[in-house]
Symmetry: C2
């Protein structure tokens, strides 16, 4: 591909800015007494060309939906990102010394998925001109998550995506052979893969131009770089990895200053101009387009109600999207695919990428994403969910096939730790709706709730117990059965709520009346309601869940009661790895059926 | 590669057996009313050639260390594995109808790592002739975990490993182009990659022979197959996926029976013979070769004590191995690498494969494996750990860098959900040793404890509080400070135990004496000790941990007390995503320092 060489003045300016970024990276990590300046040095020319030659940005509105995106997956290099922001004029350069630089947004192996999610939205939903860049370190390439995302980007022909590999850890003596391995892998994963010298500004400019003009496939720039490049006496040395330069800083900075021909150079990024064509979107106040429409006593799986509700909120708001990992027939995400195929993203059996793409797709409030698969398969993406929460993501997760009540498919498919996992995510909201009506409302609420939301859906059919106009809210439970004489409080959710109701019937035959609470959300839990009714029931509580003992509904209830004396709680849970069998048989075998609740209630009456 | 064609009689026998396996797969899934017979049909020739032409097995001792290994990652095809076992004579064919066939060992995407672990041990530790095979479905190839493992296998030149891809879901019209994509990817990942027809017995025999004679790299057999192959009227149809044949079974079976020329054919697998050269090993009663050697008051990080203890048990038993994910300098697994480099496996930044390799390496009790990385990075492998537990694995996990007390590295590096995760693993043991002495004993105990073990180690130095001869046991906590007048019980572990001790000092100045317990193991928790001393302290308990609220030490304590009235618990934990800063500052800022414990103790005195 022919491309005119840069004007020599422009070239020199870019070189100068690259060295300034090097200096900033040193001074800011010196001030913070932590950070990886040598990792930053590898990226100096790449960052310079990206920001002052390539990317279109709106500096006044950094989150302008039309501006190009950059994901720094190589989090160690955060100081040079701050440096280039300062050079671009986002804030005064002097502040770099005061910033408490955090290298804590380290996305290792996750940035590619996030960038792919942004690029997917850009190409297929926004249909806009903005481009997405992501910078990876070579170490990250060992993460399988990276290959999931590269496959995804290739499969969906994301030609608006450019993945930059910062390769500074060449291991073997034959570096060009090693670069060729990278090239072959990327090529085999459907990329336009180019090897180049990451410190050569001309090559970089050419590479980015090639990326922007390649249609039908994403581009990978395999940039060969040197750790600590142009740090005199340090360049290429492993010993200086991962630490500020300390006493050696002064000499290195002096040397860099000598390499700069115009210390007053000041460049500005390209403006967005006519590329500013990302549509305005509004994702506030999303509603079910029609209210739930069931009859009391209907038998409907909550996973099916999820699919129904998803299609309903998607009808209400054009920025609702759904993602699934090759399980759409059983999560019922296929209801969305059937209704709005252009807003359904099939992510295959690759849950890490599935989650990362959703995090990317929701950035800059471009979409409201619902991600579904079997509840237990989210364990594969725990780190992606955790990091999403650290980055204040708003993704909604929906896990079907929870608990031993899925039956014949056996324990590998049973979500028995999903509540524990999602409860541990900071700021998360965990819905565990019992019937179809409450599930539809959970979906509607999740769409409007900040932070990570998780909705746990159930495999077998359950009976509709709420009227279509019942009002639900995050953190508000429901008392579903009560009498003034109640002596024990039963708490269940999903399948176990019905077991509580059946146990209450049976207890009444023995002249013991029991109150029953459906918590609706496990996090936040309706502490006030549980404490109040628990006290009214003599402080006797039986809580039962189709989940392991640890971290689920039971421990949430115990946490809610920690501060109060005079409660006694019997917790029923799945105590061990279940086996395969009919749902009712398994629930009884593992001690979470009405029979066990009945027995536990009798026992607790003596306390 | 030249290879003699099979004798026609042998060829016909193999063909007949393949059809018999098809019939068995149908009848057993009919009887179980669940299962995927069409997925089994793809594998009939592959299984037949593997078991009756290729693998060396000791049928009398199925776990003979010298026999070849087969990992069926494609769990959906379990019925044909049972069928071939029956045909090989492991149990009567008739039992296939009675077996409650479980398709629940579905390793999707994980089998390659397990097989790679077995192959690594075979090549580098056992130095034996046995070979390892793994069968993957094409759907699994979307999982990044697969590519982590393929990279590992290529990197370590595991030429004793043969990965069979059962490719029956070709998507595009040009199937041979799609097969070529697979071949290019495998080739780029360092494999000897062969494309073949998975239903052609001659090609399969040749392929396996090629695999066995290829040195220096693993082999991938990319087998193009057909779903429901030779099921008349069903072959290649998507609609029959994932279900027994029902009414169509009879006609299909009849047709298969007609294709069999000798219904009484009976084949036996190859014997091990002179390939039986895997060494005998003994992994019982592993001890520290020297007892802990510290002085009371020494300041030592428990992560360092882990490295020390690891090298000590490795000196005691030659089958102790260590695996790490490019974090050996900070987990101190490098102590093992320095002492016994041949028993240290570097798995790079690829945690899913790291865990899977360990699961494979410990199969058939070949090794005792310790897997270390930063505690929070295990979230990337939660599913691998979960599935390992379902398969009764005995791997030991060691997570360093727990909690906000790691300080400057920031929240992305802080393990704040690791206890929740490991507690939710069925049958797990969770150690949280406080000082160097107890850490060394935790390592020794873990080496001899069945199931998944997790040891949480601490980043900063902590003070040695136990004598070198102190005796520790799983499920036994320690009272580390007590007076008869104690009015509140403080429970802490790791860094927070010291905060409890400091708070107790300060409380004593206010004439309140506090008892302090170090639980040593969070799971099982020493319920008896906590209930007893809690009661002696007026039912007042403050529990403090460097972990989020959910699923950690606090909720474990609450679970232990659920059944008793008259306890009041104040739980101190990290309430939100921390920031970066000095450890002591962060612990105070997030409410888990002695100052917060002191305040909580004063408050609880009023309850």
């Amino acid at each position: 591909m022919s491309f005119p060489k840069l004007d020599s003045k422009v070239f020199q300016n870019l070189k100068d800015v690259a060295h300034k970024l090097r200096i900033h990276s040193i001074t800011s990590t010196q001030a913070a007494k932590s950070g990886h300046p040598t990792s930053c040095a590898s990226l100096a020319e790449i960052m310079t060309v990206l920001f002052f030659q390539q990317m279109r940005l709106n500096l006044k509105h950094p989150r302008d939906p039309s501006s190009d995106r950059l994901v720094l997956s190589k989090g160690h290099a955060a100081p040079i990102l701050y440096a280039v922001w300062a050079e671009a004029g986002l804030f005064p350069v002097e502040e770099l010394r005061n910033l408490r630089l955090r290298s804590d947004s380290d996305l290792e192996g996750q940035g590619t998925a996030v960038a792919a999610g942004m690029a997917y939205v850009g190409k297929y939903l926004d249909k806009a001109d903005y481009r997405t860049y992501v910078i990876l370190s070579d170490g990250e390439c060992a993460e399988g998550a990276v290959w999931e995302s590269l496959h995804f980007a290739g499969h969906y022909c994301l030609d608006n995506l450019c993945v930059i590999f910062d390769i500074n850890k060449l291991m073997c003596s034959d570096a060009s052979a090693e670069m060729e391995v990278y090239r072959e892998r990327l090529d085999a994963f459907g990329f336009n893969a180019l090897v180049l010298n990451g410190h050569d500004i001309d090559e970089l400019v050419k590479g980015f131009h090639n990326a922007a003009s390649t249609k039908g496939k994403p581009t990978a720039l395999l940039a060969r770089t040197v750790k600590g490049k142009d740090f005199v006496g340090i360049e290429g040395l492993d010993e200086m990895y991962g630490q500020p330069l300390g006493k050696r800083a002064e000499a290195v900075i002096k040397n860099l200053q000598m390499m700069i021909s115009n210390p007053n150079v000041h460049l500005t990024p390209k403006k967005i101009g006519k590329c500013g064509n990302a549509p305005e979107v509004n994702i506030n106040n999303i509603l079910l387009c029609n209210p739930p429409n069931y009859r009391l006593g209907d038998s409907v799986a909550t996973r099916l109600a999820y699919g129904t509700a998803l299609a309903k909120i998607a009808a209400d708001n054009a920025r609702v999207i759904a993602l699934d990992g090759d399980t759409k027939n059983s999560t019922y995400a296929d209801k969305m695919r059937n209704a709005f195929p252009e807003r359904f993203i099939e992510c295959f059996i690759a849950q890490q990428n599935l989650v990362g793409v959703a995090v990317g797709a929701t950035c800059r409030r471009r979409t409201v994403a619902f991600v579904s698969t079997h509840a237990t398969f989210f364990t594969r993406a725990f780190d992606q969910i955790r990091m999403g929460a650290i980055s204040n993501t708003n993704v909604n997760f929906v896990g079907s096939h929870c608990g031993c009540s899925i039956g014949e498919d056996g324990p590998s498919q049973m979500g028995l730790e999903d509540i524990a996992m999602f409860r541990s995510i900071p700021g998360s909201t965990v819905f565990y709706p019992t019937d179809a009506v409450s599930t539809e409302r959970a979906v509607e609420l999740a769409a409007n709730t900040k932070g990570v939301c998780f909705i746990r859906t159930t495999y077998p059919n359950t009976t509709v117990i709420y009227n279509n106009d019942e009002v639900f809210a995050v953190g508000l439970g429901k008392v579903v059965r009560q009498k003034p004489s109640d002596e024990v409080l039963l708490i269940g959710a999903g399948v176990t709520l019905y077991e509580c109701l059946a146990a209450a019937e049976r207890l009444e035959e023995d002249c013991i009346t029991a109150r029953v609470i459906d918590p609706f959300t496990v996090k936040p839990l309706d502490v006030r309601l549980i404490v109040k009714h628990g006290k009214l029931c003599g402080g006797r509580i039986v809580v039962v869940e189709d989940h392991y003992q640890q971290g689920g509904l039971g421990e949430a209830v115990l946490s809610a009661l920690a501060d109060s004396r005079n409660f006694v709680v019997k917790h029923l849970y799945v105590p061990t790895v279940p086996r395969s069998g009919p749902p009712a048989v398994l629930m009884d075998m593992f001690g979470i059926s009405s029979r066990s609740i009945f027995k536990a209630s009798l026992a607790i009456m003596k306390k």
